[in-house]
Each structure stands twice: as C-alpha cells, then as structure tokens.
C-alpha cells in the first residue's frame, strides 16, 4: 500500500515538475494570466458591491457576508483551476485520441491525465481570491480559531472537489457524444451564479435541486452559512464537514463515469 502511494507520488511529482517547466517556457502567458485573473475577480466583486449599494441586500445577505462568500468562492475556484484545468480539454482529448498515450503506460489513465497538466498559472487566480477573502474576513470579523480554520479548509477542499467533479463529469460526456463541445464557460457561469450569490435568491425547487441533485450549493453557500453562524440549517451537522463529504463522493462518482467512458473509448477508437 505504502509502496503504491510512494509510486504515485513520485510520478505525480515528475509530472508536476514537467508541467511547471513547460509553462515557464512561455513567460508572457504567466503575466497575462496574472492580469486576466486579477481583473476578472476584482471586476466581479465590484459588480456585487455596486448592486448591493443600489439595493441594500441580496436574498437577505448583507454586503459583509456577500464579500466573505465571494472570497471563498474565488479561492476554491482558484484551487480547482490549479488542479483540474486539464479537464477543460477532455472533449478534445477524446476526439483527437490523446488518451492513447496514457493507455500505453502501465498506470491509471485518469491519474496520468489529471497530473499531466498541473496548472501553476492557476495560482494567479488565488491572488485576487486571497485579497477578497481577507477583505471579507475582516468585514465579518472572522476570528482565527482552530474550528474556523478547519471549517474553512474543509470548505475549500470540498468546494474544489465538487468543481473538479463537475468538470470531469462534463468532460466525460464527450466519450459518448464524440463532440468537442466545451462546457467550460457555461459551467463556469453556473458555478458563479450558485457559489457567489446566496442560494436564498432562488425559488424553493431550485434550492432543493442545488442542494441534493446537483449539489453545487455545497461549494460555498452552506458551509459559509455554517461558518458565519447563520440560522436555518437544513441538516444538523457542521456544514463544512458535509461539504467535504459531498465533494469526496461527487469526485468518486465522476471518476467512475470517466472509467466507464474510457471503456467506451477503447471500444470505439478514432
């Protein structure tokens, strides 16, 4: 068991090293991404501020809590982009037959694929994320305590896994559709709507949908609600822990779908 883990860690380290070196070959891209991401999230945050300034509150959430929610969302988005950006190109990989190379090596295909493109540049997403996050923390007077740190970590890991799972899920669809349709932008927009604004703005049925069937509300909404000590909990347990569990389960399910898809890939050929 330890041997297997050691083996995977050593391969992952080599893959990560390779992808960082590869990206360093294009320094212009790095600078471009830093700019792009900072602009994106600052711009996004500004819109929320303007709307709240005009309207007072959104879905019963005031400016301070919204800032914190936004910060958490950008952070988990950044993490997901660092770890899972290659899932955005899964459709392309299927159509172009790029999984062939992984199949020729004595290792799990998904593992090789996930680590093949470790996206150092994604860290640039974290810069504005941290800025907004700390701003939000100060606005809600977050105190540094063991519980709070744990809860925030759980939320971040859970949220990252949920995002990654949805991406893998969408990417795996191309095993069946054989189309290069890229849902990245659309899924991104959906994530934004559900994780940066409180779920309470949606009608009851949509809240149920995003809680149980397409559990995107666990990326930020419920755990942040728990951390901020807001009332109206659905389930009597620490929300952040449930968020983590939801993330793990969804990720496992998406890996399962990938495996089934891979079987189809091997049958179809290109």
């Amino acid at each position: 068991m330890i041997k297997i883990i050691k083996y995977h860690v050593s391969v992952a380290a080599a893959l990560i090293r390779e992808s960082i070196l590869s990206r360093m070959e294009y320094p212009f891209m790095l600078i471009g991404h830093v700019l792009a991401n900072c602009i994106q999230w600052v711009v996004g945050f500004a819109t929320i501020k303007f709307v709240v300034d005009s309207f007072g509150s959104i879905g019963g959430w005031g400016y301070e809590s919204l800032a914190f929610l936004y910060g958490m969302s950008v952070l988990s988005h950044g993490l997901a982009v660092v770890l899972f950006i290659q899932t955005w190109y899964m459709a392309h990989c299927v159509v172009e037959g790029e999984y062939d190379m992984f199949l020729l090596r004595p290792m799990g295909v998904l593992f090789q694929f996930l680590f093949e493109d470790f996206n150092l540049i994604g860290i640039t997403d974290m810069i504005p994320g941290l800025m907004v996050f700390f701003y939000g923390c100060s606005k809600v007077h977050m105190t540094v305590s063991f519980t709070n740190v744990c809860m925030i970590l759980f939320t971040l890991i859970g949220g990252t896994l949920i995002r990654g799972a949805v991406w893998i899920f969408c990417g795996s669809l191309s095993f069946w559709t054989k189309s290069t349709a890229n849902f990245t932008d659309m899924v991104g927009a959906l994530f934004e709507r559900v994780s940066m604004y409180p779920l309470t703005i949606y009608p009851k049925w949509a809240q149920i949908l995003f809680t149980f069937f397409l559990p995107l509300a666990w990326i930020t909404f419920y755990p942040v609600k728990g951390i901020l000590g807001m009332e109206g909990s659905v389930i009597p347990a620490p929300m952040a822990a449930i968020s983590l569990a939801v993330g793990v389960v969804m990720f496992a399910l998406s890996c399962g779908l990938f495996r089934i898809g891979m079987y189809r890939y091997e049958s179809a050929g290109s």
């Binding site: 212009f28 891209m29 471009g32 602009i39 994106q40 309207f55 659309m186 703005i201 949606y202």
Partner: protein, 263 residues
C-alpha cells in the same frame, strides 16, 4: 458576394451537425437566464423601482441580454489565432477574396444558426417562465434592431482587432479571457450601468463597450427618450466608424508583416 453567401451556408450546415451542442447550450442558457431573473427578483425584494428601473424591465433586459449573448459569439479571434499558429495565414492572404470578409461571413452564418437554434427556443422558454419580454414600443424595437446591428459590428471589429494581436504574440490565451471579463462588466450585459456609481458610469459611457449591450437593451426597454436614442445611436455609429478605420490600418500593417516574414 456569392462566395461569402456560400461560406455562410456551409457554416449553417456544419453547425446543424452538432445536435448535442445545441441542446446543451439551450439548457444551460435557460439556467443562466433563470438565475439572473432570480437574482434581480431577490435584489428588488418587492421594491417597485430602483434607480428609475422597474423589476419587469430588468427581467426583460436580462432575457434579451442572454439571447443577445448567444447571437454575439465571435469566431474571428480564434480563427485568426489558429491560422497564425498553423502558419496558414500566408495562404489565406493569397486567396482571391478578402479573408476578413470570409470570417465575417462565417460569423454571420453562426449567428443565423444561433438565431433559430438557440435564440428562438430561449425566447419561447423565457416567455413561458417569465412572460414575453415585450419591447417598450414598436418604435423602440426598430431602433433596437438598428442599434443591435451596429453593436454587432463594433463587437466583431473589436474581436478581429484582438485576433490580430496573434500576429505579435502567436499564443494569446489569457488576452482573450481579459477581453471577455472586461466586456462582461463594461458592456452592461449582466448588470446595467445605471446601477454603477456616478463616476464609473460617466467614464464607461465614453467607451465603445456600452454600445454593444447596454445601448440596444436600454432602447429595447424604453429607458431613453427619442432625442437621447438618436444622440446615443449617432455616438455608436461614430465608434463603429472609428474602430473600422483602426481595423483597416492594423489589417494593412499585419498583411505587410506577413508578406515580409513569409508567414
């Protein structure tokens, strides 16, 4: 002209082949439309009007904005980038037709497809969910069409200009993203400028971006008086012409550069 029409027709045919893409796009766009509607609903929270805009108008604004977003998809940036990357750009320039004309024809073809495949279904579903997004008046609607067309051109030229950055940097992944984000905020496609603080608004109204979404949409929901509509549309035309001139000069420089380097 015949060549361009043919390109448009081919484009329509190939787009129709992707049935899966169409269905999923409609679904997700509906979700987005719904999410935005909920957002405004929650923001208004029963208030009659904020900053002089009624909730019903905001719903219309959102629906039409989402539909417009699907019509204003631009392939030209990607096309230029990939032809520079693959080196086929020199060949393209040798063709006996204006290559940018071909790109525009392709994008218009895509828009024609999107109109029937996405815009119409979205309009129907939106109507079923929130009621028909009626324009303020027939006159407003006509003005909207004019303004939308000019806005389309502005958007296209901006995309083409951005695409031509590829001649300089070859790979421009993040640049396109930056443009997307800036467009999203500054054009008022998600949140109209009248909710922005005074100072921001004044600055933004002098930039070309508002002419793509905000202006046609504002006209559609009857936000402007007739006099204002004429004035703003004139300004929009000015922007369109100015960008066109810039585009022409950049295009000539790019073509010259390609001929010297040989692609």
């Amino acid at each position: 002209m015949k060549a361009f029409l043919f390109v448009t027709k081919i484009r329509i045919q190939s787009a129709l082949a992707y049935r899966f893409n169409v269905i999923s796009t409609i679904l997700i766009q509906c979700l987005l439309m719904f999410a935005m509607a909920c957002f405004w609903n929650a923001a208004y929270g029963g208030t009659e009007s904020v900053s002089g805009v009624r909730e019903q108008d905001m719903l219309t604004y959102t629906m039409v904005s989402v539909i417009m977003g699907n019509l204003l998809t631009m392939g030209v940036e990607g096309r230029i980038e990939s032809s520079v990357k693959s080196g086929s750009v020199a060949l393209d320039m040798l063709k006996p037709v204006n290559i940018y004309g071909i790109y525009l024809a392709e994008d218009l073809g895509d828009m024609a497809v999107a109109l029937f495949q996405i815009a119409v279904p979205l309009l129907m579903i939106g109507t079923a969910m929130f009621g028909f997004p009626a324009p303020a008046s027939a006159g407003c609607f006509l003005f909207f069409l004019v303004s939308f067309s000019i806005g389309y051109l502005i958007n296209w030229i901006l995309a083409a200009l951005l695409g031509m950055c590829a001649f300089k940097v070859i790979s421009m992944g993040p640049v396109r993203n930056v443009k997307g984000f800036i467009m999203k905020l500054l054009s008022g496609s998600v949140i109209p400028l009248w909710f922005f603080p005074e100072r921001f608004r004044t600055v933004l109204e002098f930039l070309p971006f508002v002419n793509i979404y905000q202006l046609p949409l504002g006209i559609y929901i009857g936000q402007y008086t007739l006099e204002e509509m004429v004035r703003r549309t004139a300004l929009q035309m000015f922007w369109c012409a100015a960008l066109w001139l810039i585009f022409q000069s950049v295009q000539k420089k790019a073509a010259a550069a390609v001929l010297i380097q040989g692609g």
